[in-house]
Structures are given as C-alpha cells and as structure tokens.
Symmetry: D2
Subunit: 190 residues, 4 copies
C-alpha cells in the first residue's frame, strides 16, 4: 500500500523537549535536514510501546542508522504523570538499554497532552512519524506497523534527494477509536 | 530433567506483604495448603519479567487456575525504589491488566532487598517458586524457564496428594553470576 | 482444564508400522509399559505439523526423554500418497533431523486412511496421543495444543505409578469440522 | 547497511522454467521491465525455506504486490530430485496455499544444479534475488534476511525510475561455507 504522503509538505513542528537521554546534546529537526528521521512517541508504561514499538525503533536504528536515518524516541506522557517523570524514565532507559536518543516531551499547562504530542496531533502511543530529507512529515502511524512495510517506507525516503519540491499535502494520520491502553496502543481520554 | 526437590521439606516462608492488588483480601500461604502455589517474583522495570516472566505467570493462571493452582505475583523491588513504589505499580498493573493477585514485598531496613525476597533467598528477578500442596518449596528458578518444562513440574505437583511426609530437603536454588539487568533477569548488586 | 481421561482404560491399539526411521529396531507399545508415550501423528506435507506439531514433539523428546517419556512420530498419510512415500519421508526426515523414532503407518486396502490411524480413530493431522504407564490412552488431541498445557498433562502422567486400576473410559477425542488442511490441521475428506 | 548493488548492471538472466503454478501464463522477466521483481529460490524440503523464506515471499507479495513488486517463486531442486518433482510440488503448493506464481527450474543434464539456479550462480536455498525496474540484479542473498532490511531494499528500488543508466556492477553474492541443510539454508554438495 502507498503509505507515504506526497513530498513538499510544510516542515515538521520543532521538538519541544525538556531533557535528552542517550544524547550528548539536544537534537533539533532543523539541523537534521538531509536525513530521514524516524520519530517514535512512547510512554514507559504503554504495553504496546514496550512489546513492539520501542524494539522496532531500536531495530530501525541498528538497520538504517549508518545509511542516514536518525531515530529519535519521544516520551509523550499523557497519563500516569506522577510515576513516569524524568527519574522513572531514566531508570527505564537504563534497564532496557535503548541506544537511540530519547527526548522528554514538555508538559502542557492545563492539559494532560504534552506540547510536542499536541503540535503533531498524535492520537496516542506508540506513534511513529517519518520525516523526509526535506523536513516534511510523510507518515504518521498510531499502533503497530509491520517491519517490512516500515522498511519499505524508509527505503523510499532514503532514495529521495534532499530538496523538497512543490508545496503539498501534510502527514497522514491514524484515527483512534477508544481511550486507554489496548494490546497495541494507549489513547488519551478525551 | 527432574527439576523438583523431594517432598517433605519445611513450609515455605510466609509472604510479608504491605499491600495487595487484584485481590479482595490478603493471601496467606498457610491458608493455601492443598493447593499448588506458583509464586512469581518480579520488578516492574525488569525487562525479562515483562517480556516473559509475567506473561508466563498469567498464562499459568489461565491454564491451571481451575485445577487448583494459585498464581501469586510478588513485587520484590531491590533497585529503583524511588520510582517503583505502590502508586507506580498500580499504574503498571492497570495498563497490563494482570488478572492474578500481586503483593508488594515489604522493604527491609538497612538493605535494598525486601523481606520476603530475603526470606526465600531469591537471587534476582524474575524468580519463580513452586510450592506443593503440603506447603513446601519444590522449585526455585531464576530467569527464564521453558513453558513445557514448567507445565511438567506443575502437572507433577497437581498429581500429588495434599499431605506432607517426612521432613527432608529444601528448595533448589538458581545461582546468579552477574549484577544488573540482563536480557533474561535482574540481579541485585552484592 | 482437566484434559486427561480417567485411568484404567483399555490398552492403546498396537502400532501397525511398515518401516521405522531413527530407530535401531521396531517399537512396540506393549514393551513400553511403565513409560509415558507421546505419539505424534503427522504428514510431511501438513503445514500445521511442520510449523508446530513436529517441533513440539522434538521439544518434548528433549525435555522429558530422560524422565521416562517416549516420543514416537507416526506418518499417517491419508492424502498425497503418491508423493509422500517412504523415500520422500526419509528425505524429509534427513533435512529436518528429527531425533525421535518415526514409524510409517501401514496403508489400508480400499481406504485412504492408514491402519493405525483408523485403529485410533484419529481425525486428521497433527494428532497427539498420550498413553500412560499402564498402556491406556489418556489424551487424544487434534490440531495445536499449548506447550504449558501439554507439559502439565505429561507431568501428571509421569507422577502416576505404573499399574492400571479399574477398567473405565477410553481416550478423549477432538472433533473435526472441515476437510483439507487449515493453518493448524489437515483433515481427511469424508 | 547499503545492500544494493549499483544501478546499470546487465539484465538478469532469463528464467528457464518447465511449468508454472499459480499463474495463468508463463512469466518472462523481459516483460516485467518497469516492475521490481523479487525472485525467491526454494526447495520444498528445505527447512529454512518453509520456516521463513516462503512466508517472507508471501508477505512481500501481499505488502507490495499492488505497488509494482512482482514476487516469483522458483523451485530450484538440487537434491532429493526423485521425491520433489512437479507432482510433489503441486501437492506442497496446494497445502500451503501460496498465492504468488511459482516456476519449476529446468533440470540440467549431467549436473544436479538446475539451469536457472546455475545461470544466477545461486549458492543454495533459500536465495532471494531483487531485480530493479530496468531488469538488473541489485541484490542476491542466501539464507535468512531481516524483514525490515528487505523492506528497505524494496522501497529503494520502488523509488527508482524505470530506465537503466550506465553499465556497471553485477549482483552481490552470499558465500556458502557448508553443504547440506542448516537451520537457515540448504547448500548443494560441491
């Protein structure tokens, strides 16, 4: 299936991150132009993230890291805030030994949805966002995505040159039907 | 392989538990004489516990719960105490929807090893303890154990009558060679 | 669930086998009294047999072979006879390197169902038969069976003494709803 | 890792096929210019082919068939010829219900290696060959290949236009170290 949105969309929103783990300095999407970026939004208590989302991000990091794909984890806490703060995340990260950089999405005032999650209009976790060499969102996917299909999308983006063309469509979204955590995904309460 | 220790050992130590989840009242091993008990010691940030230990306990609960096997989870926190307290465990339990009762092992004074973990001399997590109908420990296993082999051990214990015989050997232990969390198990720092 | 039929049933029918693979001499159930026997009926072109039935038989052979469980494969060809004869089976056995003995069920005259398969009233492949130390059938299962549940049944039979008691019920059967090969099992055309 | 050979190589050798299964008419690579072709060479008694090679080919057929990828199975018998002829293959194909076309590689005179296998210099089974829109071999891989990595290679080829460029390198080969069937691959005896 043709998963990718057309080239030429607007730049992906900047990451609004408080702290970075597994990174010597903050990452900024603007500086990653020319690279393909795989952004993986997760929560440390989301079963689908731990069972397949985060291992898939690690897998992509190892498979495509040397080819120009930058994998970034984003801890988008929208529930259980009291027990999934930075200290808890660091313990989680230590035990699982993720090797890609992880940013902590900045909390919003007056909302449980953190700021980057809101800017991308992510529906829950795990969510995967593919950003092309020109900085545009080409895929947004909520829940589980097949390894071979994801590889196909990454391969297509890697084959593209670095410059954007005509301004066009934005990212494709995934719809969420239910709040709470299911086997594949966690969704915020509306 | 003949995994089980001989019958007739001393009773398993009592569970020293602060709070119970997924239980309408506290569980006491003394009251479970006549049942086979599968005690699963875990930590909520232990990768091997989440990947296979806890799902195996859930699996045993569903496969053998009606045949007289009582599955009990025991949260034996020996590291990351600050971020894996009762509130964090409740969030974890909520998201994973475990259906068997889980007790929180009581913290020790002056040691990171909680009291029940110490009484059983558990070496790390995940650890599995099988207690026979007479209340004696027949198997202690650290790390991953094969489903078919575990089923075989449970089947043998189910086939035994409820009364203990001569006082004899204790439980079989598993040795730990390394501190920290590996792919299969977490071990305390000595 | 209580899978096993009661003790004391009649002896399992004799195996009617033309040739044995992976065995230095023919196996006879009568000589295996005192052992628990796991009989695995399969066809070399049955997808469910290759994907899970035969690997499970190999697994049981390795897990329980030293404890008194004898695993026997039985090639019960009821379709594709022309291309799954002894020479084909030997090539199959060679490539898969099964380590347990495999007997070739003897063809029937005037029926596609071979003789041992008929004597046991097996409904298709893979079928698993558990025979207790006294020689009685305690379980017959068509299709996939869970490793932990199978281990539990084997453990119960291992815990029993060798002598039969009162004559009673026969084996529990599994019903088949459809002919041909599905993802889990192959059934003969009626 | 950069798996693909450079563009511009010579056309892949023609398929030398006796019979086709799951196809209304013979397939010819020349007529598939403009498509990406995934050629999967297998034997019906090769464990690695059945466990992962053929399911992966089926998976690619379903994931990318509508995007311009043509998946072709090739039965490259180099051992057990007597029991893996066309009739046996048809029974195998019937039971496994593969949905992609499968060609039977033509036997060689005076050699166990069939003709297409020899023309491609395939080392054993399973072997995977990726042919680009211009008809050139870009990848040859013996044994297991990761789904995400394969998806990445297919995505890259899909992103290319249909015209070849400069004449250049041929396909990348995989080396074989041992004859016979291992868990992942079967290799011919030299």
């Amino acid at each position: 299936m043709a998963l990718l949105a057309p080239r030429g969309g607007p730049p992906a929103p900047a990451l609004i991150v408080d702290q970075w783990l597994n990174a010597s300095e903050p990452l900024e999407l603007e500086r990653l132009r020319g690279k393909v970026v795989l952004l993986h939004a997760f929560q440390m208590l989301c079963p689908g993230c731990i069972a397949h989302g985060l291992p898939q991000a690690e897998h992509a990091h190892r498979a495509f890291g040397r080819e120009g794909v930058v994998v970034i984890g984003l801890h988008t806490v929208f529930e259980h805030h009291a027990v999934t703060g930075p200290e808890a995340l660091r313990a989680f990260n230590h035990e699982y030994r993720w090797s890609f950089p992880i940013g902590i999405d900045r909390a919003s005032q007056g909302s449980s949805i953190p700021q980057t999650m809101r800017a991308y209009d992510l529906q829950g976790t795990p969510s995967l966002v593919l950003i092309d060499r020109a900085g545009a969102i080409r895929l947004q996917h909520l829940g589980r995505i097949d390894d071979m299909v994801l590889g196909g999308a990454i391969g297509r983006l890697l084959a593209e040159g670095g410059a954007a063309a005509t301004p066009a469509a934005g990212g494709a979204g995934a719809t969420a039907s239910d709040a709470g955590c299911g086997p594949d995904a966690c969704l915020p309460r509306p």
